[in-house]
């Protein structure tokens, strides 16, 4: 038995060595940014900020992953430096040593109902709705709004993909659901007047934010500062004049796959986004963190009383403070 257990230990040790081989770290001036999703028109601002950071000497490499989780994994594993997403759950539950350092935009979802059946929030009392997934942001928005309007939703079903829910709404399979900006516009274009978009008040949770390990933020402050500054500048420019989004696209040749016809959609998208104040003009910070705590704890993604959660456990606001000091707060 002694022989056996020694062998077991050796095998285990061998496996451990194999699995924990360290990954090479990036050299100074390099920044590998991991997108948790394929960049679309909603990423123009971030992409433009990245291009400008490149112009200022930060050697950025983009890595596109198909899940936000993977972006966080890549950051922790050292295969990427900066991730995009809202990794509150991971920070709290898995205790990963990453911190959010700038908010890019806030969530924008549109509860849509078939006007034949419902007109306003009150009509949804006890009615079935479809959202993205259990514990998703879309579910949290619906629950939050139901709570605000003093109603109780009926059965909540889960249908991943805004475009899938859009088609189901058009086909009549769904009577009430929630979609993103692009699909809401598509619904309005394909069936004018058939659907009513219910108002969503006071929703300010992060949709996308930048995060990195605490060590990276400390050791690469100069690069991080440039990125944060450019992010705030592009957000301010677009909010002031949404048409610059298309200029950014042309200047930096962003999203070439989408072709010229996407320009109209980009202008529309950023007009709406700017009007809704969805782009973070000062990078979020403690205020954004407080909004996120409230929203994500309602969504069940983080635990504990939102008031008792500490900003420092989730955010590193140092870079943001420096950028705000330089550019002024808006």
């Amino acid at each position: 038995m002694a022989r056996l257990s020694r062998r077991t230990i050796l095998t285990a040790a061998f496996a451990a060595v194999l699995l924990s081989a360290p990954l090479p770290a990036a050299s100074a001036g390099d920044m590998r940014i991991a997108f948790g999703d394929l960049p679309g028109i909603e990423s123009i601002q971030t992409l433009a900020a990245i291009e400008r950071a490149k112009e200022r000497g930060v050697n950025v490499e983009l890595i596109v992953l198909n899940d936000e989780d993977l972006a966080a994994q890549a950051i922790v594993g050292g295969q990427a430096d900066v991730g995009i997403g809202a990794p509150y759950t991971l920070i709290q539950k898995a205790g990963v040593p990453i911190r959010v350092f700038a908010q890019i935009s806030t969530l924008r979802f549109f509860p849509v109902v078939n006007s034949e059946f419902y007109k306003e929030w009150k009509d949804l009392d006890g009615q079935d709705v479809a959202v993205q997934a259990r514990g998703s942001g879309t579910e949290a928005v619906m629950l939050l709004m139901a709570k605000n309007h003093g109603i109780k939703l009926g059965n909540v079903s889960y249908v991943p993909g805004s475009e899938v829910r859009r088609n189901a709404l058009l086909q009549g399979t769904l009577k009430a659901s929630i979609v993103d900006a692009a699909n809401r516009r598509a619904l309005e274009a394909e069936a004018p007047g058939k659907f009513i978009v219910l108002p969503v008040e006071n929703l300010k949770a992060s949709d996308e934010a930048l995060f990195a390990t605490a060590d990276y933020l400390k050791n690469n402050a100069a690069d991080v500062d440039i990125l944060v500054e450019e992010l705030m500048k592009t957000a301010r420019e677009i909010t002031e004049n949404p048409t610059v989004a298309v200029e950014f696209r042309n200047k930096y040749k962003l999203l070439p796959d989408l072709g010229a016809e996407a320009d109209g959609e980009i202008t529309e998208y950023y007009k709406e986004t700017a009007a809704a104040g969805s782009l973070a003009l000062s990078g979020g910070g403690a205020d954004a963190a407080a909004d996120d705590f409230a929203f994500f704890s309602l969504a069940g993604q983080i635990e504990g009383d939102p008031a008792s959660l500490k900003v420092a456990d989730f955010w590193d606001v140092a870079a943001l403070d420096r950028a705000v000091a330089k550019l002024g707060k808006k």
Partner: protein
């Protein structure tokens, strides 16, 4: 995952109790060796989880605790209730349809030329890539999921049956003819019994593919049942629960295959009994 190995142990137990005697020392007993293998696996997992290999990699003990937690609160049971519906339906349909089509293709040239290329393509195709296409046609309900199971399970069953029927022992066929067997007797008494080992192997592979299909469907179409438990716990960063769910479906799949092998040996293949 640990559970899947336990089922291997049970398989060995079955074999051991029925055939192999008690020759050799106790540590050479298959049961003991399998148990040691499970223990070694669990130990490696535990060590890897404690390093940790990744923040998303729980230890073996955490995963087991999570597994019993899921079992106790009933979420695993209700998840399986919904996962098993498309799975059982899809596998049963594939089994009957697959053996039927495979036999026809094996016996009838025109059928072979019409159908076999389709199934060869289906078997070679990366099916996960066109599961989303199924949703465009059949929506997001039970039909789409059952179809996903069938798409994965059917080709392997058809192809195995077809090959088995085609490669039936010629001297048996000659014997049947010399005894003036009717065509129906040739199929029922010679071809199918002689082809049955390979047909059963195809059915087992088909069931395994059906498990792949149902999990893919639940991850890619709508998260229900097991797929819902996996995606939900992943989104909540409850990795132990996520691994426990994944382990449970692997265990169930392995158990089912072992059970099928046992049924085959006991009920349909007397010559294999005790082998």
């Amino acid at each position: 995952m640990a559970l899947s190995i336990r089922t291997d142990g049970e398989a060995a137990g079955l074999a051991a109790s029925s055939s192999r005697g008690t020759t050799g020392a106790w540590w050479e007993e298959p049961v003991v060796l399998r148990l040691v293998s499970i223990a070694a696996f669990a130990a490696i997992w535990e060590v890897a989880g404690r390093i940790p290999v990744s923040f998303a990699f729980p230890t073996f003990s955490d995963t087991m605790v999570a597994f019993f937690g899921l079992l106790a609160d009933g979420s695993l049971a209700s998840a399986y209730l919904s996962t098993l519906q498309p799975l059982v339906l899809g596998v049963v349909l594939s089994a009957f349809l697959g053996v039927g089509l495979g036999t026809i293709c094996g016996l009838w040239r025109t059928g072979e030329w019409l159908l076999i290329p389709v199934f060869i393509v289906l078997q070679a195709a990366p099916v996960a890539a066109f599961i989303p296409m199924v949703t465009f046609v059949y929506g997001i309900g039970m039909t789409a999921k059952t179809l996903a199971v069938i798409i994965l399970a059917l080709p392997v069953i058809v192809l195995n049956t077809y090959k088995a029927v085609r490669n039936v022992n010629q001297s048996l066929l000659v014997m049947c003819r010399s005894f003036l067997g009717t065509p129906w007797q040739t199929v029922a008494k010679i071809i199918l019994p002689d082809a049955s080992p390979v047909i059963f192997a195809g059915l087992r592979l088909g069931v395994a593919a059906g498990f792949v299909g149902v999990v893919l469907a639940e991850l890619l179409i709508t998260p229900t049942g097991i797929g819902d438990l996996i995606t939900f716990h992943r989104s909540r960063a409850d990795y132990a629960e996520m691994y426990a769910t994944i382990g449970s479906i692997i265990a169930l799949s392995t158990l089912t295959l072992v059970f099928l092998q046992w049924v085959e040996a006991r009920v349909f293949r007397p010559e294999k009994r005790g082998a």
